[in-house]
Symmetry: C2
Subunit: 423 residues, 2 copies
Amino acid sequence: MLNDLHHADIAEILDELDFDEATYIFKVLDSEKTAEILLELEDDLRENILRRLSAKEIAEELDELDTDDAADIIAELPQSKMEEVISELEDVEHAKDIVDLLRYDEDTAGGLMGKELVKVNVNWNVLTCVKEMRQQAEHVTRVHSIYVVDDEDRLKGRLSLKDLLTTSTKTPISEVYIKKVDYVKVDTPDVEVARIMQKYDLEAIPVVDEMGRLVGRITIDDIIDVIKEEADKDYQLAAGISQDVEADDSILELTRARLPWLVLALFGGFVTVHVMGLFEAVMKEHGKLFFFTPLIAAMAGNVGVQSSAIIVQGLANNAITGTLAQRLLKELSLSLLNGFILAVILFLGSHFLLGFEFAIGEVVAIALITVIITASLIGTFIPIVLNKYGIDPALATGPFITTSNDILGILIYLNIARVILGF
Amino acid sequence: MLNDLHHADIAEILDELDFDEATYIFKVLDSEKTAEILLELEDDLRENILRRLSAKEIAEELDELDTDDAADIIAELPQSKMEEVISELEDVEHAKDIVDLLRYDEDTAGGLMGKELVKVNVNWNVLTCVKEMRQQAEHVTRVHSIYVVDDEDRLKGRLSLKDLLTTSTKTPISEVYIKKVDYVKVDTPDVEVARIMQKYDLEAIPVVDEMGRLVGRITIDDIIDVIKEEADKDYQLAAGISQDVEADDSILELTRARLPWLVLALFGGFVTVHVMGLFEAVMKEHGKLFFFTPLIAAMAGNVGVQSSAIIVQGLANNAITGTLAQRLLKELSLSLLNGFILAVILFLGSHFLLGFEFAIGEVVAIALITVIITASLIGTFIPIVLNKYGIDPALATGPFITTSNDILGILIYLNIARVILGF
């Protein structure tokens, strides 16, 4: 029954089973589909299945796959098995391409690209071109663009399938090809490739080496994965999760991703305890002040996260314009407005809702507005500065910003109380 | 100079200028490019430029665009101008298609699809097909797939360009076409379309109406926007931003997006103040306990956000397996492990680092582990339940979860103190 399903559906079903069942079913499935299924499986299960396959069996699967996907799977194998598998690959050209791809860093264009592409020589005519393409297309699942190269394999331009369909067969390629072609270099970072492909609405982009020779192409489906991974990573950092984990990862993996930020937050908490300790003497007369510390700290944290998230997202989408000073000035106006409204609510709430005396209401209201301004400026400033120094600004969201704003918020609050109440 | 640039680059430059300058430059640019530029501009600027163009001028721009893009721009116009623009459209077929697209909700397949596609009749042969395609391709920027329909325009399957390139011209289409074709209905939600296209690695998907007739196609570039918007939205909700805003939006828009969550958090803060107020009598003897409330609240908030983020992301990626009970049990083990490690650090830290007495250390350590367990169970439970009832689980991250965990954390902490210290 499974053999009739799409490979992505089979992979989804196997992911739900335990390793032994899934591996068993994988082994009895139609061999045409297993290579594609392997690609779609979750990492743990794939690792498990690969461990139970011989080098020859793995090589058979890889022979079915595109070079970039095959290289991704080989890269997951232990060194010794990797070499064994490569030596078992049947198609020598394919094997050469895969080995070539293994050289590149996975976060670069080289690591994303595949070798399957259709290219034609600038000196041919449309007829030769169509003939050659028919042959090349055998090895290419989807024809995105036809790249035009010179005798040295240097990228000169591209040919659209549509133009090819609508041009007479005798026309020389040099007359119909489009000289303007977007491309990336093998060492272009993957996020930059994603940015370029999105901006110019490309479905595939050619990759050239240091000498301008066409060495591969990247297709949009690989870019979608890059975009999703980036978004997921930013989201996880904002939530205080320090490495890529999924709900189904092991408890140990999840702990490794979560505990570091929690320890950081705990040490930040020590500082808040210490700061309040400094004001212990005030407790006798103004003990009620301490009821407001979690509120002030929480508001500082929330405002800081909001500000930093907007900046981080703006940086990711290339949508931050103006200077740092302009940005801070805008954030200042914004936090003055928000801060004022919230301070009024807090003042009225502390008095009428919670029954605190006027002086306390005054202190907490003034403290709140000050804390909101400070927190939002810090939330704006830190990611922009991190970004300027090449550090991922997403680090500045989540526990880091909430913890530092907690500390600062309580410090500001108690000092404002000291000035106003005169202790 | 601008006329030599790619339209996406020109749009990026215009976005940096003020409205008057940008509108002026837009008007003097080569009219071939202006339609595409219009598409790429930021919303505010586009709105501003459209306001300064006559209905006839707008219609001229729209005549250059694909139906889906043209419909998106028309939908932004005020009702009266919309009708005027439509009546000015030159190409009647194009106008009909655009009006047709305006019927659909923008969050559905109908709202995403374009009318430009290449379709062939199942009764033709390859030769007729290629001839017809040449003609149809004139109106289609990119040929993704060739759809096969019957005489009633009902979707029967698809033809790959590659097969067409490699098959003899006399072959009837009915012999070469692929009967299995993924498709969506006009009312399929956009996120579902995105899920299907990603899962099956599709670059385009046909859209059919209630009767199975082919009415349009959705391409992967539109899906990338859906994926990015979803990710951005989840990220913003996690950061306490309640509607889609960008760093460059006005202060009023930003306030509208940020203030509601802050007000919610402030009211949550009132509750924490009230809870601590209930324990005011304890302050004389055990005042030091109050130094730890921000720490406990912050840890509860951080743990809750981590747990909910992992679930929200898992739900978004369809990667949550097992029952709710299994999920909670896993979270329980995880939080026991994390909680124990953190409680030990807190116990030692409170004693040796901060010099608190043994009893306080004991209370805060026990409270911390309890609070971490509670917060992580709540962080897991709430998004799963929201999702079950069709509410966006991302609402459960950010200020909502931190605020409720603040309250609960402090409540648990002070009650554990009451039991242990016996007041």
